[in-house]
Symmetry: C2
Subunit: 146 residues, 2 copies
């Protein structure tokens, strides 16, 4: 189900929020990216088309959108907080070189079974997961031998 303008307005209004150009712009940036974006990265991108926007508004908007369940917040290693659309078509994960920081994406993780078991055993409603492998990339393995 695509998120039409109409639907978006109604979701917001249901909780007493208004649909402003700023909120539209922030949501659009997140929707068009398949990566996790930090508040700063979102700010940068939104400003390209919307130069007057304030960083404060980014934070406030992220809080509202997350509260409404339209986007979700992810905690990763480095910059800790980032956001992405709630149900992306195939989430994605990272293989990170612990030495040079190089990142490789992958998307097939096959955690469905584990997820179901954990949900059942603990009574959780699971919304997402964070999976990162850490290791040495080919280049750093070579330089480590030297």
């Amino acid at each position: 189900m695509r998120l039409t303008e109409k639907k978006l307005t109604s979701i917001l209004r249901q909780r007493g929020y208004r649909l402003t150009p700023q909120r539209r712009a922030v949501l659009k940036v997140i929707a068009l990216s398949s990566d996790h974006l930090t508040p700063a990265a979102i700010y940068e991108r939104v400003r390209r088309k919307h130069p007057g926007i304030g960083l404060v508004t980014i934070y406030r908007t992220l809080a509202v959108l997350a509260e409404l369940g339209l986007i979700c917040e992810v905690h990763a290693g480095g910059s800790c907080r980032s956001y992405l659309m709630r149900k992306p078509p195939g989430h994605h994960h990272h293989l990170i070189c612990s030495q040079c920081g190089r990142v490789v994406d992958f998307s097939d993780c096959d955690l469905g079974g584990l997820e179901q078991r954990l949900a059942r055993e603990n009574g959780f409603k699971i919304e997402g997961h964070l999976l990162e492998f850490l290791g040495l990339c080919p280049a750093c393995q070579k330089s480590a031998q030297a």
Copy 2:
């Protein structure tokens, strides 16, 4: 296998680190707690018996202990970073409530096959992984209905 003073010294020295009273104190606080403790909480507790210690030392010590694999770092909702003893023998993972921050541990993740495939396809030498599920705990699901 308990972590004796002797063993600890040897683990540290293997990498060129020294065993200082401050490091001993930080590790002790973490070992005696079954919770995840933030750097600030650790600082507070260590200071009770060790008033002169600086917060900087807490941060530096946490980085060293995590690098050595003696403790592990957790990213949860609110205060984001916290630490706890690494539970032998296997690694352990978290199921985190995105609303109240409650954390449930689990240890069986069965990622061996995926790990091997990623290593082969990308030439990485994989050293470890981070796996966290995010969702709503039973209590927060109830309060969400209201």
